[in-house]
């Protein structure tokens, strides 16, 4: 397979996968493009290579910067901004994990806290079903939160050295 073809397939597939992830397609495509580019690209490069509008490119690049998956790079003597993706997959995975924890797990914990105590007879089967489920969820969510926090603070060697061995 030729480089350009392989690149294109990677970008397209990454885009499709992104949508299955709940990430928007363009954002995933830009990320893919920057991950396999040897040099930083400008907004115009991204627009041209992915055939998207300036507004779209700008919005999604900013979003990627928010996720800390992409960095601005300034080239001396150039007025334009260039962009480059984090290429260390461990860091990419940790940043995605962290962002998803923030978006997915943290709100769950917040909701469960808000629901808190329910008035009523603990022997009533409806009250019991509700409080049992909520209590279980709270315990589980807090454990998961702790585990993910540790994980994203840890370094790669600890993970590959300690955790992965547990999974043979």
């Amino acid at each position: 397979m030729k480089l350009e073809e392989a690149k294109q397939q990677f970008i397209n597939s990454w885009g499709v996968i992104g949508t299955q992830w709940g990430i928007n397609r363009t954002m995933a495509q830009i990320h893919a493009l920057l991950m396999v580019s040897a040099e930083p690209l400008s907004a115009d490069d991204v627009m041209e290579q992915l055939q998207i509008s300036r507004g779209n490119a700008n919005m999604n690049i900013r979003e990627l910067i928010d996720w800390k998956l992409v960095d601005k790079v300034l080239k001396p003597g150039e007025r334009k901004e260039f962009f480059t993706a984090e290429k260390d997959i461990w860091k990419v995975a940790m940043r995605i994990t962290n962002e998803r924890k923030r978006r997915e797990l943290d709100p769950i914990i917040k909701v469960l806290e808000e629901i808190g105590e329910v008035e009523g007879d603990k022997k009533d089967k409806d009250v019991k079903a509700f409080t049992d489920t909520v209590t279980q969820l709270q315990k589980f969510a807090k454990q998961a939160d702790k585990a993910l926090s540790s994980l994203t603070k840890a370094d790669e060697n600890w993970f590959t050295g300690t955790i992965l061995k547990l999974f043979k």
Copy 2:
């Protein structure tokens, strides 16, 4: 807080969280409703409590059954089907993890394999940037795959006993 109010808030919030997860809102709401219901509910119960159409209820209940988060229950003497959600959070988490692995990770591995070898000079910086990224991704994806497979096959005690302790 009164039971009905707490229930309603839980269902609504679970729905919002679902969308942030890439799961559709109604599906998450039905799941929430069934998780906090003491007794199995019929499609009509679900339609009434969530104010949704029959088609919508049916489609999303089927989807939840696909995810193995909801089971059909037959009541003796009743013609209707009733539905109940898995209430053991550990099982719920393992089933969601497994389904998400199937939808999110497996396709990544497939794509990376397809891209495989790229023709051209390994010293060319564009070729090198591409193959380096793809190779790193392949290694990482396969490790993650192995870890998640083990995890979803393992039982709760192994997880709480062995893994969680690592995170203090």
